[in-house]
């Protein structure tokens, strides 16, 4: 089936941005482990995690292609909404200063300090370094796998553009990490999460509606329309939340 670029463009963008956020977080842990415990075991753990994730994508991708479309779109839409609306809520609250921003540099310092406190590695594979990077790659990667499968799964031909977006983010972060050898603290993570949250909410709403059998005004063009509505509403909520939080802080100070 030919790829519809109304969907594919947004799919690549959503998968790329979401994966960028997760890869930056995994890189911070990899750098902290590599710098304190040695690069061989840290990279081996990361590579093992990536291989397992790849296997998961291949297995699940094949299984998804066999499930009836309507019921599946509804389930995927609901999961995407739970996931995306959680991201967007958090991004709004962080932008408003209600929740603290994610700080890669601080996380890196905390990780390196904790790892320095551990017993030194013997000869051969450092089990601790391997386990920490494996776990971090797996956990951050699970989110990427879910996003790729979910935004691609509403139409199976979109799995490829979604995978390409995620792969591009992985390569970009790997190259940047190898060049700068520092956590990518200047990546505007909350802004990315805000944008990705909006895109995931738009896809989730669209797939859920399709799964329920509802016709969208404008067909596929409803996706940018729904994304615009989520973006506008979330952006409006930021100053509103900031004001409410400051009123709350003043009242509790009295």
């Amino acid at each position: 089936m030919p790829i519809d670029w109304t969907h594919a463009g947004a799919t690549v963008l959503a998968a790329f941005l979401a994966s960028l956020v997760e890869c930056v977080e995994a890189l911070t842990v990899l750098l902290a482990v590599g710098a304190t415990r040695g690069w061989r075991s840290a990279l081996a753990g990361g590579a093992a995690g990536l291989l397992l994730l790849l296997l998961l994508v291949v297995l699940l991708g094949h299984a998804l292609a066999r499930i009836p479309l309507h019921g599946f779109q509804l389930v995927v839409g609901a999961l995407l909404l739970l996931f995306g609306m959680r991201w967007l809520r958090k991004a709004v609250l962080r932008a408003a200063g209600v929740l603290a921003l994610h700080d890669e540099e601080a996380i890196y310092q905390r990780k390196t300090q904790a790892l320095r406190g551990q017993r030194g590695a013997g000869p051969g594979l450092d089990k601790l370094a391997f386990a920490v990077t494996f776990k971090s790659t797996m956990l951050e990667g699970l989110e990427v796998v879910f996003i790729v499968l979910a935004i691609g799964a509403g139409r199976v031909e979109l799995l490829w553009p979604a995978s390409l977006g995620a792969l591009a983010a992985l390569l970009l972060v790997a190259v940047l990490g190898a060049v700068v050898h520092r956590p990518l603290a200047r990546v505007p993570e909350n802004t990315l999460k805000f944008v990705v949250g909006v895109l995931l909410c738009a896809f989730g709403t669209y797939w859920a509606g399709e799964g329920m059998g509802y016709a969208w005004p404008g067909g596929d063009w409803a996706i940018p329309g729904v994304a615009g509505a989520f973006l506008a509403m979330a952006a409006l909520c930021v100053p509103w939340c900031r004001r409410l939080a400051s009123i709350g802080a003043q009242e509790s100070a009295r």
Binding site: A78, M85, M212
Partner: protein, 68 residues
């Protein structure tokens, strides 16, 4: 066993961190799926109402969190 529990907890955490918010989303999806067809709105309005409800849930949740 411990590893499996960690993976399951992580999977759960991907979708739910505020139980009330998650419940509102799932509840609204069920309501929109089961009740909207009975209203016979037609012309794409079911989809529009579905999206509007989700937007309202987002706004209510962030304002409630900011207030507390």
């Amino acid at each position: 066993m411990n590893g499996l529990r960690t993976v399951l907890a992580e999977l759960w955490g991907l979708f739910v961190d505020d139980g009330r918010y998650a419940l509102a989303i799932v509840g609204w999806l069920l309501l929109a799926w089961l009740v909207l067809p009975l209203l016979q709105l037609g012309g794409g309005w079911n989809a529009v109402v579905l999206a509007a409800g989700l937007l309202a849930i987002l706004v209510e949740s962030v304002l409630r969190r900011a207030r507390h």
